[in-house]
């Protein structure tokens, strides 16, 4: 069969597919009748064009049609709300438990510098300057001093501004901690240690100034979500780094792909936790409440977070 006859015979089908693809791609229609059959026919034509060497321009045209058809036919369908709820209820804690060694490592990398600085800074106040700028140290003094700006009670629109600030700052830190993991885990380790040092320096400085009575009730509420989320983001990053360093029986590329899927889910969970934390930090923590209430609520939140990750999603063994 010559090329001209081939083209003449099949041009109507190609035009129909072109039309259907146009409708599907613009979103005007979700399904087109007989699309799979038409697509398979054009695939067959492409194979014939290649085998019979009808020409590169015809091959390119059909190649493009087939690629577009492939993309429409093998689109991944959306999930809706049910998978999200299932993830929140059991998927997320199970995922975290599955990576418990990395989570423990991330927790150590974060907590040790933090505790170290909390105890060292009161003894050597200059140590705080190693990780904090003088401007932020001054600002902290102003905020947490008796009668300082955090005690007086903030107007609501300040709360909204701080909410936006915490979202951007904290979730940004979590994303960066995760992203650093692909560099053999080094970036995540750096961010975990650095953030531990910074927060520890803050706590040490506050203790040294004697403002602990105002500071700790403030932070204990949202700290349950925020600190845990940073540790989880670090664990997610470490998971990616581990895939590169120790891929096991898979190639590095395959290991990285598989790690990416679990890590990103852990990060989603951590990001949601940080949204909660930002909400608490902006609206609940600055509220003028007696310290006992704040400590009580804080304790409840910490217990809740720990029991969520330890217990949620476990099968009942009967």
């Amino acid at each position: 069969m010559s090329r001209e006859i081939f083209e003449q015979r099949h041009e109507p089908q190609w035009a129909t597919l072109e039309q259907s693809l146009g409708r599907l791609e613009s979103g005007a229609q979700q399904t087109v009748a007989d699309f799979p059959e038409l697509y398979r026919q054009i695939c067959h034509h492409l194979a014939l064009v290649r085998h019979r060497r009808y020409g590169a321009d015809l091959e390119l045209r059909l190649n493009r049609l087939v690629l577009r058809g492939h993309q429409q036919l093998y689109r991944k369908s959306g999930g809706g709300l049910a998978p999200v709820l299932a993830f929140a209820r059991s998927g997320f804690p199970r995922l975290v438990r599955a990576e418990k060694r990395l989570v423990a490592a991330a927790a150590l990398l974060f907590a040790l510098p933090l505790v170290l600085m909390t105890f060292l800074v009161p003894r050597n106040p200059e140590l705080a300057l190693a990780v904090l700028s003088p401007a932020s140290i001054e600002e902290m003094g102003e905020q947490y001093a008796p009668g300082g700006s955090l005690q007086a009670g903030r107007p609501v629109d300040s709360d909204v501004m701080m909410f936006g600030y915490y979202i951007r700052n904290n979730i940004g830190i979590a994303f960066r901690t995760f992203a650093g993991g692909i560099l053999g885990g080094v970036g995540s380790i750096f961010f975990l240690v650095y953030n531990g040092l910074v927060i520890g320096a803050v706590m040490g400085h506050i203790r040294q100034m004697g403002y602990g009575g105002h500071f700790f009730p403030f932070v204990i509420g949202h700290g349950a979500f925020e600190l845990t989320a940073i540790v989880l983001a670090g664990a997610a990053g470490l998971r990616m780094g581990l895939a590169l360093l120790s891929p096991g029986r898979l190639s590095r590329g395959q290991a990285l792909l598989a790690a990416g899927k679990t890590s990103i889910n852990i990060l989603y969970g951590a990001a949601v936790m940080l949204v909660f934390a930002a909400f608490l930090e902006a609206f609940w923590s600055p509220m003028a409440q007696p310290a006992a209430t704040k400590y009580g609520v804080g304790a409840i939140l910490w217990i809740y977070v720990f029991s969520y990750f330890l217990l949620a999603g476990r099968q009942r063994t009967s």
Binding site: R3, E25, Y39, R40, C43, H44, L46, A47, R50, R53, Y54, G55, A56, D57, L58, E59, L60, R61, N63, R64, V66, L67, H70, Q71, Y74, R75, K76, P155, V156, D157, S158, D159, V160, M161, M162, F163, G164, Y165, I167, R168, I171, G172, F175, R176, F178, A179, G180, G181, I182, L183, G187, M240, G253, L256, L257, A259, G260, K261, I264, L267
Partner: protein, 226 residues
């Protein structure tokens, strides 16, 4: 066109071709996207400035979302390309040719931070130059690849000439090479074109500019202009 061509076998048993895109068009697309993002930041700031501090808070949330998720929204919901990529004819796909999904798009865009280190996409560029498919770290982790969207039909730029049938049947790769030569003829000085045509003297049986003319004639024949 030949060395960036990546065949992908579909479940129907047919091979489709992806033309992977190198760092240069991607860099221009990134710069365009940066410009658009700056405009969005300015555009957001103006109305939200009216609302005082609450507006400030909303603006910060908006900044956060645009910073991290601007490319994700376009890649998943707008056909696999941000406006910057679209204007350079690029599209993001999974390695197997399927459109990019939420998970992959989020991974590749969050890892953009690592690709940007130590400065101006240093690690990302290094990964792109090492990998066969020009994938940066984000692409490697997400299993995606950036390809050219072939909008220009092959052969539109081939100068018209009297069609000349090749003396032997050429394989598909060889056909593509001849057509590609004729397409890009205008971009080379004459000496270069003669040198390249001289590589296939057994095919053209001509020397110098006659060889070039014969190749253009063969390209016309291969394109079906008979």
């Amino acid at each position: 066109m030949l060395d960036t061509y990546r065949p992908v076998e579909t479940p129907e048993g047919v091979e489709i071709g992806l033309r992977v895109a190198g760092p240069v068009p991607r860099l221009f697309a990134a710069l365009l996207d940066l410009g658009i993002r700056v405009l969005v930041y300015v555009g957001l700031a103006i109305p939200l400035g009216i609302f005082g501090r609450s507006g400030n808070g909303l603006y910060l949330i908006g900044l956060f979302l645009v910073e991290w998720f601007y490319p994700v929204v376009f890649e998943v919901k707008r056909g696999g390309a941000t406006p910057g990529k679209k204007s350079l004819g690029l599209i993001v796909l999974h390695r197997d040719g399927t459109p990019v999904g939420w998970s992959a798009s989020v991974i590749r865009n969050l890892l953009r931070f690592a690709d940007f280190l130590p400065a101006a996409y240093g690690f990302g560029l290094a990964a792109m130059l090492v990998d066969r498919d020009f994938r940066r770290l984000g692409d490697l982790a997400a299993g995606t690849v950036v390809v050219h969207r072939d909008t220009v039909a092959a052969g539109t730029r081939v100068p018209a000439a009297a069609p000349l049938r090749p003396p032997v049947t050429l394989s598909l790769d060889e056909q593509r090479a001849v057509i590609e030569f004729a397409e890009r003829l205008g971009t080379w000085p004459e000496a270069r074109a003669t040198e390249l045509a001289g590589l296939v003297t057994p095919l053209t049986s001509g020397i110098g500019s006659e060889g070039v003319a014969r190749l253009v004639g063969m390209a016309n024949w291969l394109l079906g202009r008979r």
